[in-house]
Point group: C3
Chain length 136, copies 3
């Protein structure tokens, strides 16, 4: 039997429901939908990194990365990144932020696949990202 | 060669197109997007469990679970649950229903990761859920 | 160490950001969100196959298939197909196109699971599709 392990970075806010921020079983790692919440502070409600797409996207990517690392993975192991935006007008800026971010990550493997769609998100949130990784 | 097996609970309505309600290949099990349709009845069109979020969500989760079980899996094997709602105003109630449901399922492992986004669905449907599971 | 391989059919337009059209690692193959862009032509911007749902869906499916094939897979290996439409009014037509297409593909295994939701897409695009495959 292979256990399913919860991946819960210390910095993360408590999920609003009975789900894990990330799980790993065997060589499969799944990251739950992350948003741009700053590291949790005792007694404060979850707070987005800022009102801009840039601030929220960078914080969201940091949150996804923390979960990958909690499971012993890196961006190099990511197979699929799902990006949920709220406004098609954000696509170009998201791509610019995304590209710059990944250039700085020092990937040694090819980038993950990606799907970007435009959905509704709770008020104040501009981006949500989840990821599927396959470890060695 | 590893066969891909279709998972088709007897209670399920016929899919509206050439897709499987669930498939399993090796240790990977994928559940197609389920909605809150009641068990199929001969000669009747697919009918949602009720007009409320609670009725539809519980029926949808039952429909996902039936497919997991058809493949020899349980909620404990679920890695990722994708929840599609139509209204951000439903988030709190969905979480309450979701938590209560999973408390009653007697999970022995950590809960699956989850992503929740707000999309359009066909008229009358308030929630759609799919799931990825990894078996032992 | 298992390498993650990028799957980039020659016909495909350059992705608008640092992601791969498809990746394969071990027996897992993930296809990025594809739209109905015609085969790339030097010096021309990406152009959809046509304005209709039929034209765009068939081109999108061809684009997904090209990535599967680049990874040594076929539709028979597809476990999950995610269809993003922009209009619930397109569901019946999408299903008719989808069924006809897959009848012509000569599948030897059961069809993949599928989730269809309605989202926003960039102007002019009516459908986006991604896929997860598990190879033998």
């Amino acid at each position: 039997m292979t256990d399913k392990i919860a991946l819960t970075p210390k910095t993360h806010t408590t999920p609003p429901a009975k789900f894990s921020h990330g799980v790993k079983k065997g060589n499969i790692l799944q990251v739950a939908g992350q948003v741009g919440f700053l590291p949790a502070e005792e007694g404060k409600p979850p707070t987005p990194a800022g009102p801009t797409l840039r601030e929220q996207t960078l914080q969201t990517l940091a949150n996804v990365r923390a979960i990958l690392e909690e499971g012993g993975a890196t961006w190099d192991d990511a197979m699929m990144i799902r990006v949920y935006l709220t406004d098609t007008g954000h696509f170009a800026e998201l791509n610019e932020i995304y590209d710059r971010y990944f250039e700085e990550q020092g990937l040694t493997q090819v980038p993950a696949a990606r799907t970007t769609v435009y959905v509704g998100l709770p008020k104040g949130l501009l981006v949500e990202i989840d990821a599927l990784a396959v470890l060695d």
